[in-house]
Subunit: 123 residues, 2 copies
């Protein structure tokens, strides 16, 4: 049982709002190995726009998942790093990732089977 995630403002729900944005998990994953600069993250998380990256990073900082450190040098340098809370979050995320690796082909198969059957009956 996942508890009682059926009232709109339970923790689970809020977490889903947070990680459900598709990018949070990837960014957190990109930072587990150590701090990265803005552009570095953008390169790792392929497909993210600079705007969304900015937004997501800021909200993660706001949530205490990671810290932002700006070095006042002439070519600006800003580093993002996971907080303890963030590293903490990375663990269950990694389990999810493992599930994905192990079962995603099964999902694909199920999907193909479903579509095949569906196309057949759609005559």
């Amino acid at each position: 049982m996942l508890g009682n995630p059926y009232d709109r403002d339970c923790p689970t729900r809020q977490l889903l709002d947070r990680i459900g944005d598709q990018w949070t998990v990837l960014i957190v994953g990109a930072l587990v190995d150590g701090p990265l600069r803005f552009t570095e993250i953008g390169k790792r998380v392929d497909g993210i726009s600079q705007k969304v990256l900015t937004q997501t990073l800021r909200s993660l900082v706001r949530d205490g998942i990671l810290t932002r450190t700006a070095y006042p040098v002439i070519p600006p340098k800003v580093e993002y790093e996971l907080t303890q809370l963030g590293r903490n979050l990375a663990e269950p995320l990694e389990l999810l990732d493992r599930w994905a690796r192990q079962n995603m082909d099964q999902v694909k198969a199920a999907r193909a089977a479903y579509d095949a059957e569906n196309a057949a009956t759609a005559s």
Copy 2:
């Protein structure tokens, strides 16, 4: 490290597409205790519209996460039940849920602190 979830079509990314829709996790959570009928799920997952519930359920069936069983009785009765794959997915999900319960207040605190500081400097 979350692996290499940075190419657009890795398993992790696909999983995020699946569970990132905000409702999947809640529906799966609602079904861990046993099969439920359409309306039952709708009641448990507060706030979901009938349309989205239908969509999400169907895509979950398609992905092999759960099964749909329609009983041909006069008041229609349809039950949804987790497959093994689905029960399997529920485990890492539960860990995430646990994280949420344990840390969401910390996130809230960080959020409040951030906002306070932000309002102060926004003069």
